[in-house]
Structure formats: C-alpha cells, structure tokens
Point group: C3
Chain length 340, copies 3
C-alpha cells in the first residue's frame, strides 16, 4: 500500500516540509533509506545520515535544526521516535489485521462457530465443536483440533497445530509451525524393559495476550492443564512440557526447555537455551541467563542465575574466571609442594 507524505504527516499530527504529494510505501532505516521509503531521526548521533539519505521522507522532532543541506522531505512531529513507533504499529496492525474472509478450499466442521470479521486461509482446518471469537485470523494450513475455544483478535499463523481441548484467550498470536496441546511425554516402564504410554488427557490453556514463537511446542497436561498465563511471551523453538505453569508477563527466549510440572513465577526473564528440570518452582522476577541449567526450586525472588548448574551470576563468573586459569592454580600448588 502507498501513502502520500501529506497523509502520513496528518496521521502523525505533524507537518511536512516539502512536496506533500510524494508517495512512500516502505519504512526504511535512515542509513539504508531509498526512494519510496520513510525513515526517522531521533538520536543526534545519526544526524549525518540525514544529509545523505535517499529516503523520500524523514520524521524529525519539531525543534530539529539541520546544519547541512539534504534531499529528503522532513516531517516534523512532537517526538520523532514515538512518531515512528506509531507508524510502525499502524503499519503492522494494518498488514496483520486487514485480511478477512474465507479462501477455498478450507475445512470447518459444521458443529464449530467462528465470529465476525475473521479470516480462514486456504487449507486451514477447524475440527468439531470449536468456538472461535471475532477478528480471529486462521492462516493457511493451520490446524485447529476438536473442542478448541479461542477468544477475540487471535492470529494463528500458517502451519500452526492446535490440538484437542486447547483454550486460548483474547489477543493471542501463535507463529508458524508451533504445536500447542499435543501429547506430553509420559511412559510407564514395564518389567520387560518396554514402555507403556500414560494417557495424556489434559489440555493447554493460553490466557490473554500470549505470544508463542515459531516451531515452539507446548504439551497438554497429563490431567488438568498446562497453563500459560496472561501476557507471557515465548520465542521460537521453546519446549514446554506437560502440566507446566508459566506466570504472568514472563518472557522466554529461543530454544529453552522446561520439563514437566514445573511452575515458573510471574515477570521472570529466561534467556535462550536455558534448561529447567521438572517438578520445581521458580520464584517471581527471577532472571535466568542463556544456556543456564536449573535443577532446584528458586525460592527467593529477584535473583539472577547463570551457569551449567545455575549459581548467582557473579559467583559463576568469578569461578569461571579461575576455571579458565586452572592450570595456573595447579602450578602454584606444584610450586608450594616443591618448597614444602
């Protein structure tokens, strides 16, 4: 889609200096700006890019005073960064939310209902007895199993698989290839060395404002529910096992794994590739570093943990500094032994 500089200035409640009829159709970084793009200048450190950019327009603060000549058209607004963010959001809302209607062939069981203003992409599948809210976008090749409930304004991307009995709140977004509510990994060892599957009859509950990354997997509970609370944001390729509970507004980065029945507190930050064993509790406001292994409950809130078997971050770094030079320590012992 294409807008005139004048339209964007109006949207941003700002003022264009130059030809308002030029059109832009792209948001560009100021240093990479090309004709047809709009950029912003908020940090004076980057001012020199303004004098070189080929962006058609640049958003600047209303009190910005150029010190050289430039080719672009300025749009003066109260706060350049806030203005650009507003534009970004409008752009994203527009591109994500605009798609409406049904592409055929697509499948919806007659017993299921879906609200107004929704999208069902080609080759999407909705099973029996589902109830989906308004403004829901089910992208191509997404799978919604039986008895799934979903609130309003959810975006389910291509190839997502949401399995039987999953419950999803409002304003959730699930990225391509994620698998929600498939069976957990539970097997009872038999005397002959084989394993018998323990039936997994629970479900997954995603509360409001949850975001799940690409190819992430969240298993259903053995019984009861695996629960992802309001506002949780999960990155790509994260694994959440059966019966885990993640507290409100916790953020989990890519490739982290959380084993069965563990409860994570609210407002935690878990970096990439962390591993958390099963059946423990992590206190609220815990920060867990990248690739950190957590094998015991964390009871005190507000700690920052790191390491192969997690420790206080500073303690780990001190130990690791000495580990790097263990050879030196050993030589000092040898020296003492010679003297002794």
């Amino acid at each position: 889609m294409e807008f005139t500089v004048g339209q964007l200035a109006a949207l941003l409640e700002g003022k264009a200096e130059g030809d308002e009829n030029q059109t832009v159709n792209r948001l560009d970084k100021i240093q990479d700006g090309k004709s047809g793009g709009i950029s912003f200048l908020a940090n004076e450190k980057y001012e020199y890019f303004l004098y070189e950019t080929d962006s058609t327009a640049v958003i600047v603060s209303e009190d910005f005073i150029p010190t050289k000549s430039y080719k672009t058209t300025l749009i003066r607004v109260k706060d350049a960064y806030a203005g650009f963010t507003k534009l970004l959001e409008a752009y994203t809302q527009f591109t994500k939310a605009m798609v409406v209607g049904v592409e055929e062939p697509s499948f919806i069981h007659p017993s299921s209902v879906i609200g107004e203003n929704c999208y069902r992409g080609a080759f999407s599948y909705i099973g029996k007895n589902c109830q989906l809210g308004q403004n829901v976008k089910i992208h191509p090749q997404a799978f919604i199993g039986n008895n799934v409930k979903m609130g309003d304004n959810c975006i389910i991307h291509s190839g997502v698989k949401i399995n039987t009995d999953t419950q999803i709140g409002n304003n959730c977004e699930i990225l391509p290839g994620a698998v929600i509510g498939a069976d957990g990994f539970g097997f009872a060892p038999q005397p002959d060395g084989t394993f018998k599957a323990i039936p997994q009859i629970g479900n997954v509950i995603l509360e409001d404002d949850v975001r799940i990354g690409s190819n992430t997997t969240i298993d259903c509970a053995t019984m009861g529910s695996t629960i992802i609370r309001k506002g949780v944001k999960i990155d790509n390729q994260v694994h959440i096992a059966h019966n885990v509970i993640i507290g409100e507004n916790t953020v989990i980065a890519a490739q982290t794994g959380i084993s069965g029945s563990t409860e994570i507190g609210k407002n935690c930050v878990i970096a990439g590739k962390a591993g958390i064993v099963g059946h423990i509790k992590i206190a609220d406001h815990t920060t867990i570093g990248a690739n950190t292994g957590i094998s015991k409950s964390i009871k005190k809130s507000g700690q920052t943990l790191f390491g192969y078997m997690s420790m206080d971050l500073k303690d780990f770094l001190r130990s690791y500094a000495l580990f790097k030079n263990l050879d030196g320590l050993e030589k000092r012992i040898k020296e003492l032994e010679k003297k002794g």
Copy 2:
C-alpha cells in the same frame, strides 16, 4: 462422549454406591473435580479432597472406609489406581482410534494403497507407491512422500512430514510437525571455500511401537538407513542425524541432538538437551543426564553420565561443588604462599 456412572462401574468391574444414572463426560483430578467429572482416590494422603470434591463420581478401593460425609458417588473397585488407568486408556483409545473415513479434499496417488478402517484427514497428502496398513490414521495436513511403507495401527498427526522411502512398522505414533526422512546434512568442501551437497539417498526405518515427538527431525541416511528400533520413545524437538541407530526401548527426552552415524544401545535413558557427537557407540543401559555432552564412545553398559563433557555423575557433582567455590581454593593457595 458421555457415560453413566453405572456403565463405568461395569467397565471397571466395580460397584457404584449411589445414583447409577448420573452421567460423566470428563476425567478430573480429585482436587479439581467438577460436576460431570470422574476422579480417583488411591493415595490416602489425598483423602481429604474426597470430602470436598465436586466430581460426580470417585473411584476408590473396595476396602476404603470414609471418615466424613461427602457429596460424590463412589465406585468401589479392586485397585483404584489401576481402575483409573484402565479408564484413561479406554478413553484415549476411544478418542484416538475412533476417527475413520476420508475428509475432502485430500490427496492420495492412485498407485498407493491404504488398509481398512483408516482415516485420511482433509489436506493430507499421500504420494506414489505407498503401502499403508490397517487402522492407520493420517491426520489433516500430514505429508507422506513416495514409496513409504507403514504397518498397522499407526497414528500420523497433523502436519507431520514423512519423506520418500521411509519404512514404518506397526503401532507407531508420530506427533504434529515431526519431519522423518528429510535429507541429512552432508557437504563436501570445495577448493574455493564453497560446499557441494553429498546426495542423501538412504532412508529412515522406524520399527514397531516407536513414538516420535512434536517437531522432532530424523534425517534419512546418506546411504543405507537411519534406524529407530522397536519400542523407542522420542520426545519433542529432538534431532537425529543421518545413519544414526537407536537401540530397542531407548527413551530420549526433548531437545536432545544426536550427530551422524552414532549408535545408541538399547534400554538407554537420555534426558533433555543432551548432545552426542557423531560416529560413536553408546553401550546398552546407559543413562545420560540433562544437557550432557558426550564426545566419546561409552563402552561399559549401565553407567550414569553427566556434565558439559560427560563424566560419571558423582564425580561431576564433586568437581562442580569445588568449582562453585574455586575462589575459596585460590584463597587457600594464597594463604599458603604468604606463609611459605
């Protein structure tokens, strides 16, 4: 689906105490029990939940003697836990196995055959020259490439991709998004720094009773076969490279990776996020801890290994305990140096 309390008592060869015509349609934990649910009480520690639960019925042992009043209906059976497990299994079999027939549009090449009592979901794809057994369930959007053979009673969930020449035994289950038999990662370095793909013309063999988790990937062999033996259970997001062989009844937890041409013995237990290098052999009955790195063959069976570069579990924990206080060790050396 809905059952009467009397029907369930009969199924469990037990006896209902109360109105046998009440209906239940859900299995609940006793502490979360609501009307319409059935629960069980096997552990006397949880007895007090019985007096509070809103479950319509609770399975108890035939010799259970209540000490307070309760609202629920008891179903007395020989062994409450075994009874509940039986119910769980019946429930799971029923829900998983019941779906039969073809949803359209779906694709099956005329050269392929599929047995009786099967399900082919909408948007599922079956390529050329495939032979699929009886009671096979191919869920929506699953992909079966050319020349795939599959035994009886297999469940292939939504969005699974099974590539050319894969052979699958009986009673296998593959969870959503898993990729079986795609090309392995083999490249020959060229003098100019580029890489040339080494053709991957082998396949994957899954023997009977194998279970593969969501979004797991199992690569085809360069030549010959990547083999997952009878009874192996693999969790989500596991990566198994080309030409790997996994022995019977081995269990592998989430996010573990096994590099090319490695052979894992039988009855091994590999915890989550473990990493095993290529071209080695792991003895039978080996236990590998979470996030453990294995870089050499394990020849003696029955060991328990752990650590960044794997060690005997106890040895690692002793070393790590000292690592945590390396600072203290260094101070003691300093003290000795002062004295010396």
Copy 3:
C-alpha cells in the same frame, strides 16, 4: 526408475564386464548389496566385500585386479569413487528435479507469477504479488506469503513456511517444516510489567545456493533484513534471530541458536547446539565447537573456540582436565595446609 548395467556404464564412460542387460534400480553400500543394486569399491580395505556382495553391479577402477571369484558384474571406470558420486548426483538430480506440474487443489493468487518447468504440490499456497523463477519446486503444503521473490531452481519442501517479503536467490533448498521470515522476538517492557510488541517490518534475504534444514527458524528483521549470504548451509532446528547476518559459505550444524543483530563472518564452521549472544561480530574462518557459548565478539579470524563460555579449544581442554580432578587439587592443598 530402472537402468540397465550397460546404460550406467555408458553414463559413467566406463565398461561393463558381464551381462549388460541386467537392471538395477537402487544404490547400495557394497557390504549391504542386494540383487537390483549397484555399489562401488574404491578403498582396497573393503575389497573382500566384493567377493561376497549380492549387488547386481559394482563400480571399480579400471586397473582393479580381483584376487578371488565373485558373482557381481564389474563396471570399470577411471575413478570408482568419482564414478559413484556422479551416479549419486545424477540420481538425486533426477529424483528431485523431475517433478513438474500442478497438483490440485493448490492455491496461487492471480497477482503472482511462477516460471516454466515448475511444480506446485497439492495444498501448497502462494500469496499475493509473488515472483517465482524457473524450475522452482513448491512441495505439498508449503506456504509462500505475500510479496515473496524467488530465483530459479529452488526446492521448497513440504510444510515450509516462507513469510511476507522474503527474498530468495537461485538454487536454494529449504527442508520440511522450516519457517523463514516470521516475526522476530522484540518486546518493549511497559511500566506495569507487561510487554508491548515492537513491530517487525523487515524481511529475510537468502542469497544464492543457500540450504536451510528441517524445522529451522529464521526471523525477519525488525527493520531492514536478516541476511543469509551465498553458499551458507544450515542444518535442522537452528534458530536465527532478527537482523542476523551470516557470511558466505558458513556452515551451521543442528540446534545452534544465534541471537538478534549478530554478524557471523564468512567460511565459519559452527558445530551443533552452539549458542551465540546478540549484537556481536564473529570473524571470518572461525570454528566454534559443539555446545559452545559465545558471549563476546571474536575479532581474530581463524580461531577454534570451545566451552561453556568459549575459550581457545586447547586451553579449555586443559582446564577441563583439571576440573575433572578438582578433588585431587583440593587434597593437595589440604596436604600442604597440614604440613604448614
């Protein structure tokens, strides 16, 4: 497909010794050779397999002199290994490239164009304003979003999801279940503890000759482009975050994760399960070991790094050897303390 021994001898510019009308339809390892297969003998160490193999034909060097009797038919060529590789490549090209045409139902928006000699599998989806080159193979259930550009000779396997605005060069191959160009993980913390999504409006660029493994995820840039340069080869379940740049001919093994805005040099080799933090630069020709954590820029090219927090490989191994026996070090200190 089936060939006569004579046809294959001609293809390899070699000479068959025996019945040229026998047919083969499979490439076998010489030790596993069965009737209908063709194998090769290049390494004299394996010569004894020749006298036992049931392969219909075996490729040998023109100067090979057998020392015992054998049942198979020899095809003599200049270089047996090169000959077999040629056969492998012909086989792979043939099987991968041969599929042409459109299977229905499939979806392509009328505003999109696709070149000659292409394949669009059943249930594949191509959105608006896409431009796809010649000889492109879009396998069943693959998803191509809006405004995607793709060069010639690309193979997009089943269930791949390529999102809006992605640009792909020539000769790229993307394996099943990979997700290219979905939103990156960017959230701005709000004063109330919640997070607000930062719009991700950039894209992904794959240059020529790029290969992406199964279930790998490559996020779009926040603004600008996530760039995978010419000749890069990426294995399964790798995660590449927003705005990352990977240099030419770099190879990345399975389950590695690279955080946002990091730049990897060219001709690097990154082993499996490595983790690289965001906003750093890795020099050209760097080798990163399996499960290695990289938390700082690597400025000197040509290094080999390893370890939980990466070190020079040799240094790490020396430290780890001492770590394994920290108990022994502590005892020596104790001994010195006793004496002191």
